[in-house]
């Protein structure tokens, strides 16, 4: 079902894959129950002896009828069978998918903010740690532990093809884990109502080969490249004194952490938490009018002149 990026009737990761058969079992049992009850109801109503109003009702004599309590006992006994199977299967699946792996290959700290995702690749060595946003890269096949932090209000971390939801709640750290079976991009989405832009609080998980992942990690560790042309230099100045109030571009004076890290902005496929494909045109459209694209989001409109926008664009496309 490639047409449903958030559908969960298929899976691409170990954790979600465990759940799929149980989901199908419960779905099929549910549909069967509805069909059986529907047929029984239809059968009962079809026997109706009259169709009309009060006169027809009064005309039909009242009788005690047969006791019929075996209907209840047999009905309940039969329903107990799929129910007990579901109960046992649920517990078995829960045991398989609940616990985070004891030896994860990678540990991520993900903080959910209104309305974007901060992703930290923390290691014991600060020089090997970095922060990015809205795009999570993981090596394929490796179990990855995700520690979820609540930045402001409650959000929920969900990558349906890889794992079910876990809430990110301020004041506590929840654990989730993901593992991708194939390389590819998997869409994730905030799943707990969190305010105006809940609808567009998406992210992507990129599963790639070990080599690609290491290359990506090495690239992310580097500071931002220096500007070369005069336009880029002017653009950097604007980014530092305007964007730098909230954003960070490592290696420059833009060093705030209230909004997504822009150091390697152009390596990401989307901007504005999955709202737009990341290309230079969308980028300046977004910078100029975030409130038009995502009403209520925390980024203010910039009202830059055409020259300033061109300079900012020239600088930002450098950030690979």
């Amino acid at each position: 079902m490639t047409s449903t990026p958030l559908g969960y009737l298929t899976a691409d990761g170990a954790r979600a894959a465990h759940i799929v058969p149980l989901t199908w079992y419960m779905l099929i049992v549910s549909i069967l129950v509805c069909v059986v009850i529907g047929v029984m109801l239809w059968h009962g109503v079809r026997r109706a002896r009259a169709n009309g109003g009060d006169a027809e009702t009064r005309a039909m004599p009242v009788a005690r009828g047969s006791k019929g309590s075996h209907w209840i006992s047999i009905g309940v006994l039969v329903s107990m069978v799929p129910l007990l199977i579901a109960l046992v299967w649920t517990m078995v699946t829960l045991a398989a998918v609940a616990g985070p792996p004891s030896h994860p290959d990678l540990v991520l700290d993900v903080t959910a903010h209104q309305w974007w995702w901060e992703v930290k690749y923390n290691t014991d060595d600060p020089s090997q740690s970095f922060t990015t946003a809205n795009e999570i890269h993981i090596p394929v096949g490796a179990p990855v532990l995700v520690r979820l932090h609540g930045g402001d209000v409650i959000h929920s971390f969900w990558v349906p093809k890889l794992a079910g939801k876990t809430d990110a709640i301020p004041g506590q750290i929840n654990l989730s884990w993901i593992q991708a079976s194939h390389t590819g991009r998997y869409r994730g989405q905030c799943q707990e109502f969190c305010g105006y832009q809940h609808a567009f609080m998406a992210f992507e998980v990129v599963a790639e080969t070990k080599e690609d992942f290491e290359a990506w990690r090495a690239a992310q560790l580097r500071p931002a490249p220096d500007p070369i042309t005069p336009a880029q230099t002017r653009g950097q100045a604007i980014v530092e004194y305007r964007c730098g109030l909230c954003h960070q571009v490592r290696g420059t004076h833009a060093a705030a952490v209230a909004a997504p890290d822009l150091t390697h902005l152009m390596t990401r496929r989307t901007i504005a938490s999955g709202r737009l494909v990341n290309n230079p045109r969308n980028l300046i459209g977004w910078i100029q009018d975030p409130q038009g694209l995502k009403p209520g989001c925390l980024m203010p409109n910039q009202y830059l002149s055409a020259q300033q926008l061109a300079d900012v664009q020239a600088y930002l496309v450098l950030l690979r």
Binding site: P5, L6, G7, Y8, L9, A16, I19, L22, T23, V33, I37, G38, L41, H43, A48, R49, D54, T57, M60, P61, V62, A63, R64, K67, W71, I72, G75, V76, S79, L83, A86, L87, T90, M91, T93, L94, A98, D152, V153, I154, S156, P160, G164, T166, D167, I169, G171, Q172, N174, L175, Q189, C190, Q191, F193, G195, Y196, H198, A199, P295, G296
Partner: protein, 665 residues
Amino acid sequence: MKEPDFRTPRLGTESPELRERLHHIWETEPGLKGVFGTTDHKTIGIRYIVTAFIFLVLGGLEALAIRLQLAGPNLSLMTPEQYDQFFSTHGMTMIFLYALPILSGFSNYLWPLLLGGRDMAFPRLNAFSYWIYLAAGIFMYAGFVLGNGPNDGWFNYVPYAERNYNPGFNQDFYSLGMVLLGISTTVGAANFIVTAMRTRAPGMSINRLPIMIWGTLTANAANLLVVPAVSLAFFLLWMDRQFGTHFYDPVGGGQPLLWQHLFWIFGHPWVYAVVLPAMGMVSTGLPVFCRRPIVGYSVVILATIATMVLGFGVWVHHMFATGLPGLSLSFFSGASLVITVPSAVAVFAWLATITLGRPVVTTAFLYFSSMILLFVIGGVSGFMTASVPVDWQLTDTYFVVAHLHYVLIGINVFPVLGACYYWFPKMTGRLLDERLGRWNFWITFIGFNLAFLPMHLTGLFGMPRRVYTYPDGMGWNSLNMITTIGSFVLAVGLLLFFVNVARSLKSGAIAGPNPWDAPTLEWSVPSPPPPYNFAVLPTVASANPLWEERLGEQRTRSSIDRGMLLDVGKESIATTAMDGVPDMILEMPEDSVAPAVTALGITVAFVGMLLKSVWLPAWGVVWGGSLLTLIGLLMWLWPRRDLREREPAERGPADRRRLSGEAVA
């Protein structure tokens, strides 16, 4: 020293003079005093029903606006802020201002009639409960009209509802309004419980109660226990917002999950509270059209109670994704799966009643019987969310939206519409039109399923709930369009219902006392019933008093035409809780504006509490309202000699026998 004060009620049969005497004692004064002072449960019941239907229409219009916004991807009919208020107000309206009040309305109207009494146990409390409900509804809607409606969904998670993320008045309107509404629900629940336990007809022992009573009784027992949790939750939220307490604020050592626990400890039993009485309606109405008593009377009642008891142990299934430990998740998952068993009992009892009976298809029958299927669909989708791992995927997607609409529309609105067709003749003396009724039913049924059956798929394809719009290319476009079309068809169906009511009120066929030849006591009195309900209080010998002759189930017969007269004052009879043996004459209070004054005082105080954050003198309004409340309470509770309850005298077994059913028969 207590003086023995014992009077034996006179027995007799009805006569025009008796009716005239009772009418004089019981009728509500015309004019303003009557409007604000009436304690007649029938008037109050109809007020509840009409008010709740008005809220249903408002909530429905909000839903249509929501569906227009979601008809296609990236639409911008509403801004996110407007959308948030619309969906939250829609939820608040349907769940708090429609779903329970409509059932309270029917119960208020019907209970004394079903039980063979002349009013609820506490008629003034009953009036008070309605006034507070009306005030709370207006209070919360005032916020919406002023652009400050609730904006965090009906379950209002913190910290988003806290002041630093939600600085407007929105949450103050909602939290104070909910505390206010809680007063209404709580006193109403107490009234229902005492009414069911103590004001039944002589001989109506606990095993002869109409099932309708059981549904509402169980629901209200639950409400009495759980409403304090939600009132507390909202009160603490208001304290956090207005006085800087930190109950839910993690920075100050508070706990956001505390809100979720308090809310769902209330919220889940509440879900059962808004469906069990409706299931009771089906269990009462459906057998009449199957021309036989319900199959498994006692088992169905036990299942009702079991559902409610288990209902207290499933609230965490709303919180499976919040990071609770696996052991507690398994417990709540198990309980949530097991709760389907008592529901299965009800389903098979209804199916057996239809199959083993002689069904007559009427509009009411169509609503009641189709409810069985909708109940099963809503039930099995609930069964799916009960499984923790599956729920981790399902929760907060449109699958849950589909599920809860099958529960609330399927198990509340459908039985309620059926109940309207069934009891409208009792309330107005005129039948609803059956031909228009068929159109009404089929369009409603088709529209509802067209809107919400495909929505399960929308959820399985991963559409999150509470999004003001959605991107293209997610596989949700056509499904959403179908749902939008279905919702408009559903609206047309409901519109036909209101047309039918309006037309039949004027020109419907005259019903007579018992148009459906139904077995319960309300059908033994004229339609609409006189202010005193029963001219002579009936004595009951079985669960189907008007069918006894034909069912031939036992030797003794109920006595409808002959019984206690109680015509010397505004009186009714109290009976013992289990056996229904009469043990006290109830002196019923006269009409009074005290409940309305008290309700007004409380409301004024709440308005003051709302305004105080921007306008400090509003504290004066709080004090003014409190003073008015005090005046109302004094008027209400001022001791009066003629209202004292008589102490039962020492009685021998002979007295007991004389007063119980067998002696009368």
